[in-house]
């Protein structure tokens, strides 16, 4: 069998196929990564099956989100008005840079350089940590998984399970280097306790906390933040200033809609009936400042696309990643974007088509993602549509384009098709080495199909009357 050689097309790291190829060099590790995430998918299935009304819930959530997108302007105004009435300061950021500037200004005004942050994919999208670090602000990510990747200098590889790609021995080593735990200790209980003690110090000494937002309620001007660890709450309730960063699409109309979304979110994400904490921040604590930064960063533009607006329904549960057979076998970092997996693949090309042109092709279009999505985003349909857009914009290689044009000619002309079919078979039969070699990616780990003596149409002509 041919050895798996890596096949890096460009030097850097913006090609899913090349990155996935590297990932697959360690097959036992791929098996471990795949099985771990499949287990999460199974937990999701178990939790979902306990609600006979599960599919109705998905449909309801989907329709609520459709309503939100169709009325987003008014909901945003309603949310802002109600939040302001609650004593919350509302900011608007057109893009990532503005978001970072606003957050930085608030931090500066608070006069602090040491802050804590709970999980927020939006802040990942805006590269907030890097921005703040370069301006002398120490940001401590308090979600355990995010803390681990932060210590390691990496980006999270999954939006809900940030360090799913790390083994406990590796975490043990990391903690031993950074937190002073004994070398060789990889017991999750022990390591978590060490992290608890270390992060408790940060909670106690930080005067400003940044959180993400799972849901922003237009009707009441409140925000909901869900965690299992309690890190968002610990950060905020000990701080003088709370900054909540939220994409404009995270609005939902009414408080009681949370009954639908909170029933779907944790079950879809991890198979739990609910996260340990589902905190509703309606007003700041007496004496505390609370800020909400509403971020556009391409969302208002995406809203205008009939084909691609559905991505704005996403509630960031990660179910699509857990079910994706490609994600499980290539890992989040192969997607070179803040958000990986199927949802990342339909988000990223809209942000930077050239950089992320490969992502919609990192899929077999199996459709599993669309069917676990709690808000029924048509992910696999969007993957197909993105491929058309990407090709139209010229972001596919010359050879591929040429091959496709040849294919189109062959398939449009029955005679050419018959002749080339015959030629192809003959080539494969009598000169297999032309095709069966290391330049043929199929042949790397698979045998080519055996060549039959005649095609079906050849057989048909011989064995049946022509039926034209």
């Amino acid at each position: 069998m041919e050895k798996n050689t890596t096949n890096v097309l460009d030097a850097s790291s913006f090609d899913h196929a090349a990155l996935a190829d590297k990932f697959n060099a360690d097959e036992p590790r791929v098996d471990w990564h795949d099985k771990t995430l499949w287990f999460v998918r199974e937990k999701r299935d178990k939790a979902a099956s306990q609600l006979p009304e599960w599919e109705t819930l998905r449909e309801t959530a989907s329709q609520i989100k459709n309503n939100v997108l169709s009325n987003l302007h008014d909901y945003l105004l309603e949310f802002e008005e109600n939040a302001r009435k609650n004593g919350i300061t509302v900011h608007w950021a057109a893009n990532a840079d503005e978001h970072n500037k606003i957050v930085h200004r608030i931090i500066e005004e608070a006069g602090t350089t040491h802050i804590v942050k709970s999980k927020s994919m939006l802040t990942e999208e805006c590269h907030l940590n890097t921005y703040l670090k370069s301006r002398g602000i120490e940001v401590v990510d308090t979600d355990l998984g995010e803390r681990i990747v932060q210590l390691a200098g990496e980006a999270p590889s999954h939006i809900v399970l940030p360090c799913i790609h790390w083994k406990k021995e590796e975490i043990g080593s990391l903690f031993s280097r950074h937190l002073g735990t004994p070398e060789g200790n990889s017991d999750p209980q022990f390591l978590t306790a060490a992290a608890r003690a270390n992060l408790r110090q940060h909670f106690m000494t930080s005067r400003l906390a940044i959180t993400g937002v799972n849901f922003a309620i237009a009707e009441t001007g409140e925000i909901v933040v869900t965690t299992n660890e309690g890190n968002a709450d610990l950060g905020v309730h000990l701080a003088d200033v709370h900054i909540a960063c939220v994409g404009i699409e995270k609005i939902i109309p009414a408080r009681n809609h949370l009954g639908v979304f909170l029933r779907l979110l944790a079950r879809s994400a991890t198979g739990q009936p609910i996260t340990t904490y589902s905190s509703h921040f309606q007003r700041p604590r007496a004496g505390q400042q609370m800020h909400i930064v509403l971020v556009d960063n391409g969302r208002s533009q995406r809203l205008g696309s009939d084909d691609f607006r559905n991505v704005l329904k996403c509630i960031r549960c990660g179910a699509c990643m857990n079910t994706c057979p490609v994600y499980r076998r290539s890992g989040g970092h192969s997607y070179h974007y803040a958000i990986a997996g199927p949802i990342g693949a339909i988000l990223a090309p809209g942000i930077d088509m050239k950089k992320h042109a490969d992502l919609p092709f990192a899929s077999t279009l199996c459709g599993s993602c669309s069917n676990v999505c709690p808000v029924k985003i048509d992910i696999h349909d969007q993957l197909y549509k993105w491929r058309q857009v990407i090709v139209k914009n010229g972001h596919v290689g010359f050879m591929k384009r040429l091959n496709m044009q040849v294919m189109a000619i062959v398939f449009s002309n029955p005679l050419i098709y018959k002749v080339s079919g015959g030629l192809g078979r003959a080539l494969l039969k009598y000169f297999p080495f032309v095709i069966n070699n290391r330049f043929n990616p199929w042949y790397k780990q698979r045998e080519m199909p055996t060549v039959p003596n005649q095609s079906f149409r050849g057989w048909f002509r011989q064995n049946r009357h022509t039926n034209d």
Binding site: M1, N4, A20, D21, N24, V30, D45, L51, W54, E55, T323, P325, R329, S330, F361, A362, T364, L365, C366, G367, S368, S370, N371, R387, Q388, V389, I390, V391, K392, V396, K400, R401, M404, M407, A408, V410, F411, S412, P414, Y417, G421, G424, W442, K444, Q445, R446, E447, M448, P449, V451, P452, Q454, S455, F456, R457, W459, F460, R464, N467, D468
Partner: protein, 245 residues
């Protein structure tokens, strides 16, 4: 009823036995089946690669070949799904719509149109059923594990009519095999890994044969099986149903 046989390009060229089995099976069930001889390809390989705009001529050819039939039947879930979702002709949408309404994959044609309850076939082997994604999730040939909904399976329903056949259970009932069209070479590492994992599931449950509705999936799995020198073989469901006694 007027039935036309739509033979996917790679079956025509590389696995004619699948089309032969399909034709013979339909004829055994009393149908007269036409084979429009100028058919080529449904256009899916180009469309799925982002070159949908190059499929206008293949669409025209398809409509030309397959107009005027009550049903167009094919032993391929993914090709049928592609036609169902993407066949359109800018000048003659009515013709395209008619074909889209009447195009069916083989097993759904047998269960839904012919309402087959008995198949005269014997296949004394342990068989693993691979649920090809496009047929399953696209054409709803069987229930998918993602949904909380009642179980059903058209291919399984038919296989249960075959004497001597023992259907094995799998750990993962409907995970993708990794073929995915040009994906199989563009993302070779992941594609093969997915195929290997599917195969391991079937072999762990002692499958003599792996069957399914799509020869493309089976071709990919067969390539890996043969590279592994495995005793397990692949066989299209049409061939099992047509195996005779």
């Amino acid at each position: 009823m007027k039935v036309a046989l739509f033979v996917p390009c790679y079956i025509d060229q590389l696995y004619p036995r699948v089309a032969i089995a399909t034709l013979e099976l339909l004829e055994k069930l009393g149908l007269e089946v036409a084979f429009p001889q100028n058919q080529t390809c449904c256009g899916q390989p180009m469309a799925n690669s982002g070159f949908e705009h190059l499929t206008r001529t293949t669409n025209t050819l398809f409509i030309k070949n397959f107009s005027g039939y009550d049903y167009v039947v094919s032993p391929s879930g993914s090709c049928v799904l592609h036609i169902k979702e993407h066949l359109s002709l800018y000048q003659n949408n009515e013709a395209a719509a008619k074909i889209r309404a009447g195009v069916l994959e083989l097993t759904e044609f047998l269960t839904d149109v012919l309402s087959v309850e008995k198949i005269s076939s014997r296949f004394d082997y342990k068989v693993g059923l691979h649920q090809s994604c496009h047929g399953q999730r696209g054409l709803k040939l069987s229930q998918m594990s993602e949904l909380v909904a009642s179980d059903f399976s058209k291919p399984r329903h038919l296989l249960n009519m075959v004497e001597g056949l023992e259907l094995i259970t799998l750990d993962r009932n409907d995970e993708c095999c990794g073929f995915g069209g040009t994906f199989c070479v563009a993302e070779e590492a992941v594609s093969v890994k997915m195929g290997k994992d599917r195969i391991a599931d079937h072999i762990n449950h002692n499958a003599d044969y792996i069957t399914g509705n799509d020869m493309s999936c089976l071709m990919h799995l067969e390539g890996i099986l043969r590279r592994q020198d495995s005793k397990t073989k692949v066989i299209h469901i049409a061939e099992i149903l047509n195996a005779g006694r």
